[in-house]
Amino acid sequence: MESHTLSTQDVLHERMAKKLKQRHRRERLFKFAGLLATCLGLAFVAFLFISILSRGIPAFWQSTISIPVYIDPELVAVEAPPEREPQESQAAFKARQDAWRNGLMRVSWNAVLAAAVADLYPQEDFAVRDVLALFTSAERHRLRDLVAQDPSVIGSTLTLNFLAHANVDVWLRGNISRDLPDAQQQLPPKVRALADRMAADGYIQQRFSKALFLNTDSRSSAASAGLSGAFMGSLFMMLIVLLLAVPVGVASAIYLEEFAPENTWTNVVEVNINNLAAVPSIVFGLLGAALLIGWFKLPLSAPLVGGLVLSLMALPTVIIATRSALQAVPSSVRDAALGIGASKVQMVFHHVLPLALPGVLTGAILAVAQSLGETAPLLLIGMNAFVANVPSTPMDQATALPVQIFLWQGNELRNFFEARTAAAIVVLLAMMLGLNLFAVWLRKRLEKRW
């Protein structure tokens, strides 16, 4: 009898132990799944950054041809630059100046470059075409500008740095397989041999690419395409966001948080702001296209229009950040101010807002950083046009950093521009990281004071 009971208990115990084991196994499995998901998330971040950085960082260096150039007076035969005569109108003087520059343009700068390479190897006989294939086409304009700026260099020998052609850069860095047959190579065999020889002799080196930062985009001369135009466009737009979205957003947050009466209008505004925060960015682009460009006839591709569109997009972000900063100020501060006789406006502007300032500034900077990375709405207002100049006012044609990335990734010269695109992404991410770190630093610094 007793043994029987015992055995039943044993069975029960055994079952429970088994069940418990199963449940504990499930527990471990579940926890492991959570850890796995978290690690997967971390792996995504790592994969993203490694794949961008490994492509982008090398592109900050670029094949550069560094050779002595003799500015031959026979090849560069131009008169002295014109000077303004008394009683000459400004327009007429400008016309003469243009004529002189046109004369400079007719000089065969290609011949100067070809002669410079031929002088390196006097015993060889290169075809001019093969030599010129080494240089990216914008470099002869640079040579011309050099002479236009200082005509006294004619007749002297200067050691100059020229950017190599994009295809030469691709070849020297091994971004195209050396085993491909001639038909599939981007360069003829003689140019490849010359490039290899000059690289071996140290005339072509990998140097830090200043062009990437100082030049604007270029269609004909891929190797000298740079980001400065896009950078200025982005800067103008960020300034507009800072000057428009931030004050307006902070003001409306103050109104909603401190002054708004509890009524239908306030409710409508609040629901509206929450929805506006989740409207897809491309819809704001459509708004800009229809309203600003279609109705108000503002110019296409202007940073002003882009800045306005991005300001409208950033507005909800600023409002929401400011509201939560205002909410974080303890109500005792408000009560104390009101208690000693401050009016509501005085209470807000003298006490609450200064205390909320760190949060407000952080929100503002994050909103600016967010608008720095926005692409889609800018495509709809024509900011994807090719722009060869650095914009000097917000009304000039311009592009933006993310749009420049979009344009470069679509360039036909794939094996050169893939690295260039990744480098531009590194620049963009570095700027955003800088802004975010600035926001963190600002918050830490200001919070100490209060």
Binding site: V279, V283, I293, G373, A376, Q409, L428
Partner: protein
């Protein structure tokens, strides 16, 4: 040029009358020995507003209208021989005349009528500039004069200034409403123009998307929304299939299991994903993920295109992981500890507590987070523009290229701004559809989240 000088003059005047009003109020207080209602600086601010506010408004309006009036009078006075010029030639002529008038000079012969027009232009601009100065300064002067008479001991300047400030704040909060109104009206207006070309039935229920840019003008092509909507749904579904399991499990692990040190490291790192611009994801999909999938496909013997619904969806999923995870994390952390304690006290394991108690309690909030993530995925543009392959066809193969609503908006509107034909106007009909879908998702999500919040407060 003279406009900005004038603005500076007005601002200088504003500073002066501020100081004047300040002194006057102060003097009155000292002389009478009584306490004025408002401090001197409120009187100053009030007078300063009446000095600069109306004057700058007049200046702004004048600067808008002046060039139009001058131009019109100049064009009206051109001789008959110039009447047949095209608008471009007129513009060129006007520029020549302005260059002559400014003394910059022009290249080539100067016709007598040009000389006359230049002189007329000079005269008119001089008169206009003088009139502008007089009018603006008059408005500023009258405004300050009137406001200064109000500076009295009993005048409630502070109340007036605070009223102005509140009005300004209210006006700023109305801008958000104006934005929405602008979005709705511009979309509706342009979409209605589109529906004059293509019937709404053909648009909403059509199964062929082929907006041919024909020059004959008669054939507009086909504008069926369904292939685009299907592509959008397919990409979004793949994105959610990636983001929901990863994001939710991450949130659970972070909220319930992770040691504090691991959490403080991993949470911000994963949230980096939310701050990366979408164009970066697009390029990442194109350069790394697409070729990777194509290689895997070739290895498995399946044809996977480098730009496909799968590539775009997976990368978009990575993008919205932090959305799902941080929203869900917040919601899970809000579940009261007493519920967990109760379940653990009854002998449930930690994972059983989470699955059977915490998650059901947090469910409405988590569903709200999913809906917000969905609306984010549907409205996402750059990833799909770069990585989805742009092939607007109805098919169920996730390894092949698709097109989405956002991609078509970009394709139809890029570079085209005269909004004349259905080819560009369709973008607004698509945008309206997108706006309505995301709006509905957001409203439902916010409703669910808000309702959930009420349960524990």
């Amino acid at each position: 040029m003279s406009g900005s000088t004038l603005a500076i003059v007005v601002l200088a005047m504003m500073a002066m009358v501020y100081q004047l009003a300040w002194w006057r109020s102060r003097r009155q207080a000292v002389a009478s020995g009584e306490r004025p209602h408002s401090r001197p600086r409120y009187h100053g601010a009030w007078v300063a507003f009446w000095c600069a506010g109306p004057a700058l408004l007049v200046l702004g309006l004048w600067s808008l209208i002046e060039p139009l009036v001058l131009q019109a009078s100049l064009t009206a006075n051109l001789p008959d021989s110039q009447a047949q010029l095209s608008s471009m030639q007129v513009e060129q002529l006007l520029r020549r005349i302005k260059d002559l008038a400014s003394g910059y000079g022009v290249v080539g012969e100067v016709a007598p009528y040009e000389q006359a027009a230049a002189e007329q232009w000079q005269r008119l601009s001089a008169i206009a500039a003088a009139a502008k100065w007089v009018l603006v300064l008059l408005v500023a002067g009258v405004g300050s004069r009137w406001a200064l008479t109000k500076v009295q001991l009993t005048f409630r300047a502070r109340h007036q200034v605070e009223k102005l400030i509140k009005l300004l704040l209210w006006g700023c909060s109305a801008i958000a409403i104006l934005t929405t109104v602008g979005i709705v009206f511009s979309m509706f207006g342009e979409a209605l123009r589109f529906f004059a070309f293509v019937s709404p039935v053909d648009f909403f229920f059509g199964t062929i998307w082929n907006p041919s840019f024909s020059s004959t003008g008669h054939d507009h092509g086909d504008y069926g929304l369904l292939p685009l909507l299907w592509g959008t749904l397919m990409v979004s579904a793949i994105a959610l299939l990636v983001a929901i399991p990863v994001g939710l499990m991450t949130a659970i692990y972070m909220a319930e299991y992770a040691p504090a040190r691991f959490r403080s490291f991993a949470k911000p790192v994963i949230e980096i994903l939310a701050g990366i611009p979408t164009i970066v994801y697009g390029v990442f999909a194109l350069m790394a993920v697409g070729p990777f999938f194509a290689t895997v496909g070739a290895w498995l013997g399946i044809e996977i295109r480098a730009t496909s619904a799968l590539t775009a969806g997976v990368v978009m999923g990575i993008m919205i992981v932090p959305f799902v995870s941080s929203l869900s994390d917040d919601i899970i952390s809000q579940v009261p500890q007493s519920l967990r304690d109760g379940a653990l006290g009854l002998g449930a394991t930690h994972s059983e507590t989470i699955r059977q108690v915490v998650l059901p309690a947090a469910l409405p909030g988590i569903v709200g987070a999913f809906l917000l993530a969905t609306s984010r995925a549907i409205g996402e543009t750059m990833i799909v523009v770069l990585a989805a392959g742009n092939s607007p066809q109805l098919h169920g193969n996730p390894f092949a290229a698709v097109s989405t609503v956002t991609v078509s908006i970009v394709n139809q509107l890029t570079g085209d701004t005269d909004f004349a034909g259905p080819q560009s106007l369709v973008a607004f009909a698509l945008g309206l559809t997108l706006f309505v879908i995301t709006l509905l998702l957001n409203v439902v999500a916010l409703y669910i989240v808000r309702k959930y919040r009420e349960q524990y407060e």
